[in-house]
Amino acid sequence: MMNERRRNQDLELLSAYLDNELSPTQSQALEARLHSDPDMQARLEKLRQTKRLLAELPRLRAPRRYTLSPEMVTVRRPKKQPFVGTLRLTSALAAVMLVVMFGVEFLLTSGPLARPQMEAAPMVETALDSGEPQPLIVWGQPGAGGAEAKVNGMGGGVDMMEEPMMIESMPVEREVAVEDAPAPGEMPEDIPAGEPEIMLEAMPEAQEEAYALQMPLDDESGMPILGINPEEGGEIISRSSDFIVEETTQPAWRRALRAVQIALGAIAVGGGLAWWVLRRRN
């Protein structure tokens, strides 16, 4: 390894010495070595012969004149169109911004920055914590009789009571009340008709105003039929569609963000394609 390196260094010195490209000091040092080293002399001589042979190659003359005519000058190579670079830059920037926006959206919706919003979401829990009485039945909420009533056909074709019954709200212990309350499809039969007060008694009066739901009662059991709005004449009411619409409707900021993302995506892809096509053409 060392020998090879040393050999290459000597080769460079000898080659440069032939061309008078060494400093006076280097030349003197090399000449001293050449006097005492026959191998170095032989290598120098070989290089000198090679250089001489190369220099003796005939200088070829151009087979024709390369002078330019006005036509040759005007027929220039297609220069790179100036907007090609701009197109590429714009496309790249759009792609980068798109990635950044996706990142920001992720942070706002799923990442650590999303916590304040996530905490605001469970409104029921918040409302319960505030001590505000909650209704037992909420129209349109899935699982509370609305959607399921429609799906299961509960309440369909049931005669309405002439005087709808006022249902009072349940006490604060909503979870317990919900647990205790029979599901719409599992109305206990052992509860006699005309005894809905048993349940209603447990409801606080404070919620009369907000949740004075006028519920129709079953003729036989006297229990309220969940999912039926008496004002709508016994129709099967389901506000689940409202709920779904509300759920799928995105906030305004997210809609705007989505529009910008689509626009950026279009710029990135379109610009990239256009740049590629122009580059291929050139």
């Binding site: 001589e45 042979l53 190579r77």
Partner: protein, 202 residues
């Protein structure tokens, strides 16, 4: 006329001034291109392209050696062509007859009257040397041609090749050694002095 004045006139759109420069440098451009490419046709194209490019890029010339600047364009053209050939190897021109038999020498390639420069190259030694140059790697070949064939000093060669002087120095030494080794295969063609000296060292 002064070279710088011709360049200035050419920059102002005077094509005749530029053509004066072309006539002055065209042999050098062709010779360098031929030694690098090893083919007359390719050298012809490279030289012509170099002058067209030089005119189009003349505003990029920032003074200094116009010869080195022009040679850099020539060598770059040769580099590009060699690179292109490396990517897309040229198929041999061996057309087939309708019966499927291959034609060794198509009529359009037949030329019993060699050009003057080809005639001079019929010297076998010169052909052997060119063969050894062709066998070199591109980066070594360009430096060898610029210094040993064209006779440029290290500084001008460095400008023409777009490399530092130190790189020119090391590449030239290796290129010379490789050509020297290659020429051993043409022992009988070498001059007597070359052979005798070499025998002494064996």
């Amino acid at each position: 006329m002064d070279e710088q004045i011709l360049i200035q006139n050419a920059l102002e759109g005077d094509l005749a001034s530029f053509n004066s420069l072309v006539l002055h440098y065209q042999d050098m451009a062709y010779n360098v291109a031929y030694r690098i490419m090893g083919e007359h046709g390719a050298a012809d194209d490279a030289a012509q392209e170099a002058f067209i490019s030089a005119y189009q890029k003349l505003e990029q010339y920032r003074g200094g050696s116009f010869k080195a600047w022009l040679l850099r364009i020539v060598t770059n053209n040769c580099y590009d062509e060699l690179r292109r050939r490396q990517r897309q190897p040229v198929a041999p021109l061996r057309p087939e007859m309708p019966d499927g038999e291959r034609v060794e020498d198509p009529y359009w390639l037949e030329d019993d009257n060699p050009l003057p420069e080809e005639h001079s190259e019929q010297s076998e030694l010169q052909a052997a040397i060119q063969n050894c140059i062709n066998a070199l790697d591109r980066k070594f070949k360009v430096i060898l041609v610029l210094v040993d064939v064209e006779g440029l000093d290290y500084q001008t060669a460095a400008e023409a090749a777009g490399t530092p002087v130190g790189t020119v120095k090391s590449r030239l030494a290796r290129a010379r050694e490789r050509v020297q080794e290659c020429l051993q295969g043409f022992w009988e063609l070498l001059p007597e002095t070359f052979r005798l000296r070499d025998e002494e060292t064996l």
